[in-house]
């Protein structure tokens, strides 16, 4: 544990910038919307900004990216495939704990199973992560219900906590420790740790009064979602409100589904593009030949919440798929962000 003065906290990002592309929270000046973006000017970073509208997912899993190109040599009947990996080391600075949890879910999906996704691995492999404790929740937050905040437990290299005039800097890895030492940060003592604990406790206690938009007692519905006992009419009620925009998946820190398209670039060549996909789309679950096992929208909504809330899926992520950021409720043109869906299911249980 170390201590850094508030005025110097961006020095960490400046040090990281020497070898990394730094990403962090920046407020867009005209619209005052906070986005988690790649930055060149470290002074733009704002650790006190509200939770970014966009999660950091795009740093490891871009909205739209070329992952390879291929050319076919007709005469020799040979195909040449060139992978297009983004190998530049990246540093995520000022990440909120829910968003770190999202990255951990993505890690388990892309790296933690028998097949390792090389495109993702290249985005991720030289990464340095600096998290930022939430001293107070935001209106839409419910990370306390999903065990993903308000302060990160693991998976970071450095974790920052605002103690007032200073930041407490906790190292969560060897490279985190080295960074702290390279910056010659002074050591924190037990009183600092206690102050952090008090801050986190206070933050948790403020959820009742501040985080009023969403309540999601997800533990209550996990069993119900896992066993599939929820009545069809509840899913229909949810499906009727879905306009199939895809937003919930796009803003979800842990949603990993993608689509592949191969735009033709020449007579004998093509690119392979990977784009975000969403289970709300009808084409998402359509199979070759036209059969669609999840044709009605409510069946696809059902799938989404199975992914976020079922025990079977949690076994893959080693935690629930929902990280409690509340963004899906923000962007949903219906009224079926995850917290509301939990409410609808709980209502059914009570009935």
């Amino acid at each position: 544990m170390y201590i850094i003065n508030k005025s110097q906290v961006l020095d960490i990002a400046r040090e990281l910038q020497k070898e990394h592309q730094v990403y962090g929270p920046v407020m867009e000046k005209e619209t005052r919307q906070v986005m988690f973006v790649a930055v060149d000017d470290i002074a733009e970073l704002d650790l006190s900004a509200p939770i970014p509208a966009v999660p950091p997912k795009h740093a490891v899993f871009p909205h739209f990216e070329r992952i390879m190109s291929y050319t076919y040599d007709r005469r020799n009947k040979k195909v040449e495939i060139k992978p297009d990996y983004d190998e530049k080391p990246k540093a995520l600075f000022g990440l909120r704990s829910c968003d770190l949890t999202g990255i951990q879910c993505l890690d388990r999906f892309y790296l933690g199973q028998e097949f390792v996704d090389e495109v993702y691995r290249n985005h991720r492999k030289k990464m340095f992560i600096v998290t930022n404790t939430c001293n107070a929740p935001f209106r839409q937050c419910f990370c306390v219900c999903t065990d993903s905040g308000p302060s990160a437990h693991e998976g970071y290299d450095l974790n920052l906590t605002d103690l007032g005039d200073q930041y407490l800097v906790e190292a969560g890895s060897e490279q985190g420790k080295k960074m702290a030492e390279r910056l010659s940060l002074s050591k924190a003592d037990d009183s600092h740790r206690k102050r952090k604990e008090a801050i986190v406790d206070k933050s948790v206690s403020m959820f009742d009064s501040i985080a009023k938009d969403n309540k999601a007692w997800i533990s209550r519905v996990v069993n119900r979602v896992t066993t599939g006992l929820i009545e069809e009419k509840v899913w229909e009620y949810i499906g009727d409100q879905c306009i199939e925009c895809g937003a919930c998946a796009f803003v979800c820190p842990s949603c990993s589904c993608f689509n592949i398209v191969d735009p033709v670039t020449g007579i004998d060549s093509a690119d392979r593009m990977r784009t975000w996909d969403s289970c709300s789309y009808e084409g998402y679950s359509r199979m070759a030949g036209g059969h669609n096992p999840r044709k009605p929208v409510e069946d696809r909504r059902n799938k989404r919440f199975f992914c976020k809330l079922s025990y079977s899926q949690s076994k893959k992520y080693l935690r629930p798929g929902c990280v409690g950021c509340g963004r899906c409720a923000w962007v949903c043109p219906g009224d079926i962000g995850l917290p509301n869906v939990v409410t609808y299911i709980r209502r059914e249980i009570q009935e």
Partner: protein, 664 residues
Amino acid sequence: MNYKSGICTFCGTGCGHLLDVRGNAVCGVFPLQNHPVSKGRLCVRGWNVHELLNTPEKITTPLIRKNGALAEASYDEAVSYLVDNLTKYKKNSSDEIGFLASPRSSNEENYLLMKLARSVVNTNNISLDSDPGHRLSLDVMHRGTGMAGMLGSLEEIAKADFLLVVGIDITKQNPIIGSEIHMAARAGAKLVVIDTRNTQIAKLSSRFLQIRPGAYRIAMAYLAKVLVNENLADTDFIKKYTDGYDGFASSLASLKEGDVAAKTGIALGPLQEVARDLAGSNAAMVFFSSGISGFDRDTISYIYNLFVLAGKIGREGCGVNPLTGINNLQGSYDMGIAPDLLTGFQPLSDAAVQDKFNREWGVKLNSGPGKSVYELMTGGNRLKALVVVDHDESIIRNVDEISAMDFVAYIGAFQNNFMNYAHVVLPIAAYVETDGTYTNTERRVQLSKKKVEPPKDILPGWKLIADIAFRAGAKWNYGSPADVMNEIATLTPNYSGISHEKLQGTFGIKWPGGAPRFSLEGTRRKVSFVPTGTNFAVPVASEEYPILLSIGESQHYWHQNNLMKKTAIPLREYNATLLLYPQGYVAISPQNARELNVRDRFPVKVVSPYGSMEAMVQVTDKVKPNTAYVAYFVHEMVTRFFLEHKDVLKRGEDATIPVRIVKV
């Protein structure tokens, strides 16, 4: 910060977005949370706009048709070829040349195209093709209130406690407006949907009345009649603010109440309750489509008069709201893209208006009224030359007339079927490659800033049109689209005070003068009831043609998918249905399917008195027995079936055709 704020340019909602700009490419999109209309939401189209912007199907070079095939040409060659032809047809411009403008072009580009046509080529033959229905709405609103636009405000949907949605599949056409309505209903507003189909918004409503195709007019007239019969009309409001009530009352008197239930397929009780709910509400809004599936003038007039009768215009949370399906449809009319209109709905026939434009433009305008391109093509005279800008493919239904022309020019950013008929093609920059303003369905003028450089040697539309004018001898002097807007603002009372400088950093300014909605206070004149007809006939099925077919659009088959086809995710969604129904589908009820002995995806023939088409059936409980529905993206329909029904479609009647469906 690589995210740059902008305006989504698919539909007329005008949602705010942030585009992820890296280098000279747009790599992603994110909704804008503070935008007053979209409030951090986008639909499937908006969430994938970057895919369109990255399409390889762009026009990359000028092309000239040589020996039957389009061949690459230099810019000078192509633009001179175009200018030579404009000069050639200018001699007899009123008959021989037409300009087909785009409801997607920015206000600045449309204004300059309009100025080019009228002041340089000396013709008033300029029109839009897509969604001519919006003109009918504008005519009605203008005649009634003097304001040629939506009377309410999208921001105030949450303030209404009664919402009426008539004949529009709103969560598909304008999904974010549909969302606002849904949210208002969840917060307690009464949501009533009257539609031929059980749409998503119908499912979300507190009351859904499934109406027989073509019976909207009589239903609206009956609602008004209930207000009169039960003394529920807002008489204070009518006395203080309106004129023309007597005329409307006499139209209503000729409505035979005995016919209503049979003609609409709805019992009188529920209709009466809707009328009472409307009258009893504090603030009420009505939404309907202003597109191809929109209403005829008389139906719109009844909707408008109904709301005037109930005193539900001119206040917060009130309004009659025709919704545009394309991003700058409203702005195109504002820019005078109509043979008889100059900017801001100023009539060309008004001598004072003509003088003003003559003075400002330094020309003597052709005062002949001009005709729409559609009229010119189908009206018997032979149009010889046509200039088309960035267009949907619906015009392909006039493919015979277009291929017979001596000269067709296509100007656009993306490849389009029009190129198959063009003699010269000129590329222009995409909307993110130049500045421009767009006016959404609620009259909100929004500035979209340049975010990336256009490809080398490709000019933005405004610059290309200015260059064409210059080469044709005009002395225009615009340094930027901002200069163009300054000129628009000088000539157009509605746009007075609007400039790029003022729009910069805002979420738009609503004309006139930033007014959130139509207001009773600022106007010099009274609000009028508009004249209404007394023809309450509804299309009738016969023994020979027992099924009433209506036409609409769907989310992923949006305006012939000209743009959707150039994306990945929306394309896949389009293909999902097209793979199931390769020739398109005609939706019929399970009962009709049983009678015909067909199941989903069985091929059928749809036969009308005028023609026929083959399609697969989609069996769905969304349509009532003995009604059917076709999404009009179906290529087969657009080219032939529509052609055979031009007159029927022109009549409006929410485009209803009695048909017979037979198994093949």
